[in-house]
């Protein structure tokens, strides 16, 4: 795979538990819910999940919460992986991927614990996987499903990120920072070892890594709700810093020939 391995490659390979896979049924699905202080909204999310995807197992990754998120999740019947301290969404997700691989799940869905992702929209994501995609992104902007207002500054930042992803991957994605996604088995295995753990890297950079790795990434339009609990995890200056960092990281990790080609294309004005 033409993906350069840096520190992200230091994780040891994961031992799969030998489990015979019965044929002719739905693939085993794990719903990964990264949650950081989401005790308020989590119960409702988990109830909706149980109603919408009764066949899936739900794993809540408690990312060092201090408000009893793990207890709420256990009470609601989810399996809980409790991190000893806060790692950020990327780290929480990689935990979920490692769990999925160890327990032989064939696909996974990422859904935020704050209630902004509607569990009813999981079905179209999984349908995307069934059609052969490796990563299906639920996009707020793919079609005008509903107006989703992100604020002006954040809107600009997202536009820059979107353009960068388009330059580096050669594909057009409408929502590069969506955290509502589904992953195929092969991609799970890949991501369990290399997943961008830094803030924002968990979405845009992961998207690029999947593209570089030759995985098929598609978007489907979804409705998103205004988050029902918790606080948005950033302030303007911090946001700017994180965007800058992820841009540096994305451009410096691009495979060299690609980078040259794209730079030439930009230079000749055909962006």
């Amino acid at each position: 795979m033409p993906v350069r391995q840096d520190f992200a490659g230091t994780a040891p390979p994961i031992a799969r538990s030998p489990r015979p896979q019965p044929r002719g049924r739905e693939p085993r699905t794990l719903v990964i819910v990264p949650a950081f202080n989401e005790a308020e909204s989590l119960t409702r999310v988990l109830l909706e999940l149980a109603a919408c995807v009764p066949d899936a197992t739900v794993l809540v990754v408690d990312d060092g919460s201090t408000d009893g998120t793990a207890d709420v999740a256990r009470a609601a019947g989810a399996i809980v992986a409790q991190l000893p301290f806060n790692l950020g969404v990327g780290g929480a997700l990689r935990t979920g991927f490692r769990y999925a691989i160890r327990h032989g799940y064939e696909r996974a869905v990422q859904l935020d614990g704050d209630g902004q992702h509607d569990p009813a929209e999981i079905a179209p994501l999984l349908a995307g996987l069934d059609q052969g995609a490796d990563m299906v992104i639920g996009s707020r902007f793919a079609e005008a499903v509903t107006k989703y207002d992100v604020g002006r500054l954040r809107g600009h930042a997202m536009r820059i990120l979107r353009l960068s992803v388009r330059l580096l991957s050669g594909h057009r994605f409408s929502d590069t920072s969506s955290g509502f996604r589904a992953f195929s088995g092969p991609l799970l295995e890949f991501f369990a070892r290399n997943y961008p753990v830094e803030y924002l890297g968990d979405t845009a950079e992961a998207l690029l890594l999947a593209c570089y790795g030759g995985f098929q990434v598609v978007e489907v339009p979804v409705r998103m709700r205004v988050r029902s609990g918790g606080v948005p995890s950033n302030r303007n200056l911090k946001l700017a810093y994180h965007y800058l960092r992820v841009l540096v990281s994305m451009f410096s990790r691009a495979p060299a020939p690609l980078r040259r080609r794209e730079l030439r294309r930009v230079a000749s004005g055909r962006t």
Binding site: F7, A8, T10, A11, P12, S17, R19, E26, R28, T29, L30, A50, V53, P54, D55, A56, T57, V58, L59, V61, D62, R74, G77, A78, I79, V80, A81, Q82, L83, P84, F85, L87, G91, R94, T95, R98, Y99, R102, H103, G104, Y105, V197
Partner: protein, 127 residues
Amino acid sequence: MSTRGHILVMLVTLSSVFFMLRLVRRNQMRAKYSLLWLSAGSVLVLLAASPRLLDRVSVWLGITYGPATFFMGATTVLFLVAIHFSWELSRLEERTRVLAEELAVYRAEADDAAGNAPATGAGDARS
């Protein structure tokens, strides 16, 4: 530099070398770092012991002002050491992260084995 100055530099250097050795003996510093600082220390001792050495090296390098040679060398070494530490820190952070993630997975499995986590649908991981 005066003789007194050289003696001062030598004393400071020797005491820091001694301090370094003590840290290593107490297992408070890895040998690879002590080696780094010990070699830096010995260069300092050497320079303090023979005042002519710095001037001769400067002439050989074509630098007219002796102390400039020293500062250039010191800056370069410290710069490289700082970069190395950033690299080392990043590596350590990544390892800590992997450990935390593995721990969380094992916690979930332990819960599961103890029967604390109720079944969630047909696709449950337990066997």
